[in-house]
Point group: C2
Chain length 432, copies 2
Amino acid sequence: MSSQLTGNQQAIRWHPPAYDIRVESVPIPKIEHPDDAIVKIKLAGLCGSDLHTYRGTEELTDALTCGHEFIGEVVALGESFHNGVTGRPDLYADLNIGDKVVSPFTVSCGECHFCRVGFTCRCVESRLFGTPTTPGGQAQYVRVPRAGGTLYNLRDIVGAAGTSQSEKEDVTKLADSSLLLLCDILPTGVFAAFQALNHPKTLPMMNSCPYPQSSSFARFALSSKVLGAEDVSLTFAIVGLGPVGLCACISLFDILTSRGADFRIVAIDPVEARREKMNAIISTIANKGPHLHSIAVASIDESKDIVEKWTNGLGCNAVLEVVGNTSALTLAYELVRPFGSISAVGVHSGNQIPFSGRQLYDKNVSFDFGRCPVRAMFPAALDILLRRQDVFGAVGGTASLVEKIVGFDEAADTYELFDKGKCGKVLFDPWK
Amino acid sequence: MSSQLTGNQQAIRWHPPAYDIRVESVPIPKIEHPDDAIVKIKLAGLCGSDLHTYRGTEELTDALTCGHEFIGEVVALGESFHNGVTGRPDLYADLNIGDKVVSPFTVSCGECHFCRVGFTCRCVESRLFGTPTTPGGQAQYVRVPRAGGTLYNLRDIVGAAGTSQSEKEDVTKLADSSLLLLCDILPTGVFAAFQALNHPKTLPMMNSCPYPQSSSFARFALSSKVLGAEDVSLTFAIVGLGPVGLCACISLFDILTSRGADFRIVAIDPVEARREKMNAIISTIANKGPHLHSIAVASIDESKDIVEKWTNGLGCNAVLEVVGNTSALTLAYELVRPFGSISAVGVHSGNQIPFSGRQLYDKNVSFDFGRCPVRAMFPAALDILLRRQDVFGAVGGTASLVEKIVGFDEAADTYELFDKGKCGKVLFDPWK
Ligand SMILES: NC(=O)c1ccc[n+]([C@@H]2O[C@H](COP(=O)([O-])OP(=O)(O)OC[C@H]3O[C@@H](n4cnc5c(N)ncnc54)[C@H](O)[C@@H]3O)[C@@H](O)[C@H]2O)c1
Ligand SMILES: NC(=O)c1ccc[n+]([C@@H]2O[C@H](COP(=O)([O-])OP(=O)(O)OC[C@H]3O[C@@H](n4cnc5c(N)ncnc54)[C@H](O)[C@@H]3O)[C@@H](O)[C@H]2O)c1
Ligand SMILES: [Zn+2]
Ligand SMILES: [Zn+2]
Ligand SMILES: [Zn+2]
Ligand SMILES: [Zn+2]
């Protein structure tokens, strides 16, 4: 089934120690394992996570091919892929050369405990694209390990059980630049929102039912009460308005409005350009409902006053940390109320967490850290992607999440601009 | 309604800087605010939390009356208590002199947002008994602020909606030494278990449903699967087997067996006497079911091997930290699996949390810190108390949670023994 390509390709490569991006000619990858697929890239994303490598924070010593967000077309498959394979993830039987695929940013086998349970980003075979061992997708071709567990076949998504005919048509119509958002940033935004909304410390407000009856597995001798309107109104903060923070805000807004919840969100970034983008998005997504007043965009200092005023000094029910540095965690702690939770999706460095045990005890704080299990969040992300084409659809509008699509010749400049917060989400077209 | 007492009483008092416990004669407290009640103490508990003061960790400079666990009888009430009070917690209308009451270890008004939502330990009026501003219950009398929000009237518990006649009788029959456990350690143990069992990262195993469909507020385009038996078996660790750790273990065991869950628990303490008590309790609570094999008692080193072997190196689904020091948190992190959660009820000091952001990100760890909202956990705790009279009923048996009841003359010695892990739960009878 393998139809190997030979020769060289162009790839965006990072060189140590930091800030050194070059477009280089490297060999087209080959099938190395029966479970591999080779994907010809249509679009690859530049992401805040690439900046950790770019800035040298990872202290890597070898050059690497960047990028962990890509969509494309299958051009070669290993021996594991053939009709009639059973007992393995469906894709080993289904995937064909020519199929259009979306890839989560990590490899997942689909066969281990973590994959089965939905913790796909912690698969025992996990690998992150764009790292020394797993060349990334900012290239013309990429090798995808455990491809039968890792990739989504667009054909399968369209045909999935429970998908209505009109949804199928909508998926088919999605632009490549929209689909690319499913690799990482939209599922991660949904994940950040999901963790905040489903935390046992948020459930009383979501369910109008006091703690702990608001959760499943307590045992109760007494019957439960219903909470009044003044107790169930929710206040959230989103710390960091890079592309992932924007997705987190849109997801949170979308889920809360669809539930008719009474809520407020303060969206925070020190960089003005990032706040402007957020404002443009808000006036698009919130311009019809009664909720225009419910999102404020703020600098760090402003945010403290806003939360203070909105909540009479109580603080936020939950804070979504979408930055990945110590100052963002400190701000999150300051803004959260007692018995609140912090959903931290930022990729953090080796610095120690800036809290004492006493601080966390004294506020009954909860923390959720970590990587998004993209495969598991995919259905929820696709749903939001379809319903919010006003911001996820077009490229380059004031309220568009994707700012532009550029060729590899602009790679070094684009990394630099993105690093400085001077541009938003940019995609690379390797054939431009 | 107030019938003030005058004169002096005996009280167990701590003196700075550390390890200095004296029984002293101090004035009987008086009603200072209309919402106050004065309670004549029947029994007061000595608790691991008292040790933070005892050891000088709190760096307090003034002497204080110790103790935050007490049951007793109402002997004086402020002006707020009279029949016909409306719009306030029921107890302002109901409570009478002579009523038998159980007190949570913190004051809660019953009227603020936190109280209404069930986060009662973070009441805006919160005070901890046995601190400089709020004299404790290791005395003959104690003043209870916001008593209409804080206290439980045993009569009300017995008459609560949903309580069957036989339950009412069971509650009436509970020994004082059993009721005393409802002030703190049993609800806190239940809380530790509750946080672990209801965490979104545990729910897939509890619901046999993959993440995130296992939680409430995700949006899904795809239908969900059912997890197989090999994926839903749960492994827990309990770090620290003081009285609270024992209660956590009993609660976890009780909830899991009543759900028919497939689980294993490793219960860990470096002190042999503490492990022996745990073993005695286990052979009592687990001696009939098929689950005898499912709890192991271990030293710190042994625990790592056990978890390694039980889980093929994956680690625990959730760890209950019931110690309150840095080494316990470090052990919890080591034992937890990727996408696991740590329910930390230990009272921690000002030391920084011993983790880097990267460590937490890399394992997708979740943390819940903080104080138990005793009032909110009370129904669940009472339920377990009634069903586990085999360990919570008698005093002084090998498998009894309460080891002995002593007079104030043994206060200083008892503090010393308890501090060294040489005794378990001891109660003081101020009239002995
Ligand atoms: N958990 C996951 O699976 C996952 C997936 C994708 C991205 N990420 C991480 O999420 C984070 C955000 O990604 P992105 O692409 O949006 O990155 P980005 O770098 O474009 O955006 C980060 C934003 O945070 C702002 N910021 C910096 N310090 C701040 C502070 N103290 N308070 C508020 N805002 C502050 C910056 O100005 C910037 O706009 C990164 O750490 C990235 O690595 C995690
Ligand atoms: N969150 C709450 O509301 C709440 C309520 C009550 C008690 N507490 C706290 O819970 C903790 C336990 O209370 P307790 O009364 O059982 O205290 P305790 O001091 O009797 O028990 C603590 C136990 O932990 C053990 N230990 C010490 N280091 C350890 C380690 N690294 N690994 C494993 N075990 C270790 C000790 O040997 C001891 O047996 C204390 O910090 C107490 O203040 C919290
Ligand atoms: Zn990314
Ligand atoms: Zn896997
Ligand atoms: Zn206590
Ligand atoms: Zn209150």
